[in-house]
């Protein structure tokens, strides 16, 4: 019983991590049909920026909980800056090209940004553990957990719900859905697709950066953290259905809980869990669990 509860809690924490890592990717793919490898860079830049701002914040004697603002500020700064620069400066020239070319372009941009990261922050790691230490610990099923990791579940829920409501209940969201469904007709109907694309890309970038920024206090922010995230995020998004926010959520929970069960029961197979689920889902439902239906055009 204790083990079951622990598996569930561990699984949900890891699922939330996966969701935060993947949601930005799925937002951008959903609207723009771009598989954005640069997502890994957003994550890494978000983490570095967050660590830097948190470090700077705790140099001052402002109230301790204000450190959390630094996390969100970091995500906003990175997301808005890179979102606009990349979309306006690079991607918009490629929209008429083959989708694989765009993937490759974002891959190239990722390589470039990996080194830009090192030019700015060097190779030494950054730490920002204060927010994590601040929230302390709690006992669940006689086992100690750190509260900060548990707040990840709340953050993921808020982000997921917020994006979903924004998409289905607001005017902006409905415009987005129209663009997703048929870009050319929407344009003809007078929707400013250019602005929709820029805004979507910026939101996706902010989400990617927020993932890194929020994880930063629990890790050592060091070179290479962006690479690992890419494949992980791809897998979650593919499992859930590319472009679907509820799909990303279900995909993340499926992988997160299975992985937690594997770690507790059969740690040897942990490495395969995510790819096995991905291959299985793709073999049965190639569009992923929750893919939006697509019209067949002859």
């Amino acid at each position: 019983m204790q083990e079951l509860i622990v598996i569930l809690v561990d699984g949900l924490v890891f699922s939330s991590y996966l969701f935060m890592v993947a949601v930005g990717l799925t937002v951008i793919f959903g609207v723009m049909k771009i598989l954005n490898v640069t997502h890994g860079s957003f994550y890494a830049f978000g983490a570095y920026m967050s660590a830097t701002l948190i470090g700077a914040y705790y140099e001052t004697d402002w109230p301790e909980f204000g450190g959390f603002l630094a996390i969100f500020a970091a995500a906003l700064i990175i997301g808005v800056f890179f979102g606009i620069v990349l979309e306006r400066g690079l991607l918009r020239f490629l929209y008429h090209r083959d989708e694989h070319i765009i993937v490759l372009a974002t891959f190239a941009m990722f390589l470039v940004l990996e080194d830009v990261l090192m030019m700015i922050w060097g190779t030494d790691p950054y730490y920002a553990y204060e927010p994590m230490a601040l929230l302390g610990i709690v006992d669940i099923a006689e086992l100690t957990f750190d509260v900060y990791s548990l707040t990840l579940i709340g953050l993921a829920a808020i982000v997921g719900l917020g994006l979903w409501l924004g998409l289905t209940k607001t005017k902006w969201g409905k415009l987005l859905l129209a663009v997703i469904f048929d870009r050319e007709i929407s344009q003809a109907m007078g929707i400013n697709v250019t602005v929709v694309f820029t805004v979507t890309f910026v939101i996706g970038a902010i989400m990617g950066a927020l993932g890194g920024a929020y994880i930063a206090p629990t890790i050592s922010v060091s070179p290479g953290i962006g690479v690992e995230v890419i494949v992980l995020a791809f897998a979650v998004v593919v499992i859930g259905g590319m472009g679907s926010i509820p799909g990303a959520m279900i995909g993340a929970v499926l992988v997160g809980v299975s992985r937690a069960a594997a770690v507790h029961k059969f740690p040897e197979i942990e490495l395969f869990v995510i790819y096995a689920i991905m291959a299985l889902v793709l073999a049965i439902r190639p569009e992923g669990l929750f893919a939006p239906a697509q019209a067949r055009k002859i």
Partner: protein, 442 residues
């Protein structure tokens, strides 16, 4: 399509190709210098933990060799390697075996490199060894964990040397330490990164424990997190629920630091006794955040273990290093420096035997084979694998925080002789462990 643009691109390409061709002409080797290639991790996760400290350590020694400012016992042989200045080519080790083999060939044939002192990852060393032998290139591996280099890949090395003990020594020393300091331990488990280094570390420790403490059971649920995963919450829960009190851990770099943050927050280090194989790479950086009371190794007498080695050479090294990089040298710095010192020792000794004239490659190799030279922290005995594999003393201790000095220190350090932890010459490490470590002199 406008013509101006088109011709512009063509010109660009033509210029590029011309530049490429002219660059391939090769670089002339000035007669009075020795070109030393120093591959080390400059990018990626390996950079902060090993690559950059190793580069820094090598740079300090190379510069001192060129200026002739090394203290005793290297103060009498003049500037440079046998009188010639070192020109160091420091480059990135990232990208896997195939890329590094390509780069090795490039450096040898196009840049006329005279010797290599470098490589950190076991995978790269394994890939480079046959090529170095094929191209007859003097190559000194200062680090590299895997015993397979001279046990499987090349049993009769002529051009390849390794100037520190291999990974078998870590597992054996750790098991000896556990036996002496935790005689009543009820069992052990582990958390190791799921790749070659983690797998080898756990296997060697496990085999050594089975020999030294045969009644103590190993967990069948040792944890294998993916390398660079950074999220260890689930694994930490599993470890805290496990019944074994001792946890073996060979993680390094960002993974290790993330594990420490996440584990410390949840009280893992109070609940379980942790044994870290290579955590010395992070102790200075973590400062007060280091978990105290844990068992710690540094793959030999390096880094934090050498903090109190009071010799002119070591005191000089630490001072110069800290002045320049404002952090103390860690394991990688010591190990890389030790590799460069091997070159210094061998070239000077060979020149001595050659009547003071600059020695040939074969003479340098002969001088290093089977030699014993002074490293920064301990004497290095090149007495395994036909004199190409080093053996040194090994140290394990308990990490504590020194409040007065405000820095981490090692306590309860046990020093193991080389012949206690390394398999005897000519014996395969794994078979030696399985056979009960015959011939070990402890």
């Amino acid at each position: 399509m406008n013509i101006y643009k088109r011709s512009g691109r063509a010109t660009l390409l033509a210029t590029g190709l011309a530049a490429a061709v002219s660059l391939t002409a090769g670089i002339a080797n000035a007669a009075d210098e020795v070109i030393m290639a120093v591959p080390t991790f400059l990018t990626g996760a390996g950079a902060p933990a090993f690559g950059v400290p190793a580069r820094n350590g090598a740079e300090v020694i190379i510069e001192a060799i060129n200026k002739g400012t090394l203290p005793a016992p290297y103060d009498k042989s003049g500037k440079g390697l046998a009188g010639r200045q070192i020109k160091a080519l420091i480059y990135d080790e990232s990208g896997g075996g195939a890329k590094q083999v390509t780069e090795f060939r490039n450096k040898v044939q196009r840049q006329n490199v005279d010797l290599f002192v470098g490589y950190i990852s076991s995978g790269t060393c394994a890939a480079i060894t046959p090529v170095a032998e094929e191209l007859k290139m003097l190559t000194i591996f200062p680090i590299c964990g895997t015993p397979r280099i001279f046990e499987e890949i090349n049993k009769n090395p002529k051009y390849v040397f390794r100037t520190m003990g291999h990974a078998t020594a870590d597992g054996v020393a750790e098991a000896h330490y556990v036996k002496a300091n935790m005689p009543g331990v009820k069992g052990y488990t582990g958390i190791n990164q799921n790749y070659a280094w983690g797998q080898d570390s756990w296997r060697d420790f496990d085999l050594a424990m089975k020999q030294l403490m045969p009644g103590v059971p190993a967990s069948d649920k040792a944890q294998w997190p993916k390398i660079f995963s950074g999220q260890y919450g689930t694994e930490i829960s599993a470890l805290m629920l496990s019944k074994e009190p001792l946890v073996h851990n060979s993680m390094w770099g960002g993974d290790l630091e993330a594990f420490i943050f996440q584990g410390a927050a949840r009280g893992l280090f109070r609940k379980k006794k942790l044994l870290f194989s290579v955590a010395d790479t992070s102790v200075y950086r973590l400062g007060k955040k280091v978990p105290t009371g844990v068992i710690l190794g540094a793959r030999g007498p390096y880094g934090i273990f050498a903090a109190n080695v009071d010799t002119p050479l070591n005191n000089w090294f630490r001072k110069v290093y800290i002045d320049r990089y404002s952090v103390p040298p860690v394991g990688g710095s010591y190990q890389a420096a030790q590799g460069v010192l091997a070159a210094k020792y061998a070239y000077d000794k060979a020149a001595g035997m050659n009547g003071g004239k600059f020695p040939s490659k074969d003479q340098v190799i002969a001088a290093l084979e089977g030699a014993t030279y002074q490293g920064l922290a301990a004497k290095v005995h090149m007495n395994r694998s036909n004199g190409h594999q080093a053996a040194t003393i090994h140290q394990i201790g308990i990490l504590e925080w020194d409040k007065e000095a405000g820095e981490p220190i090692m306590t309860k350090v046990t020093t193991f002789p080389a012949d206690c932890v390394m398999p005897p010459p000519g014996v395969n490490g794994t078979e030696w462990l399985k056979g009960g470590m015959k011939g070990a002199k402890c």
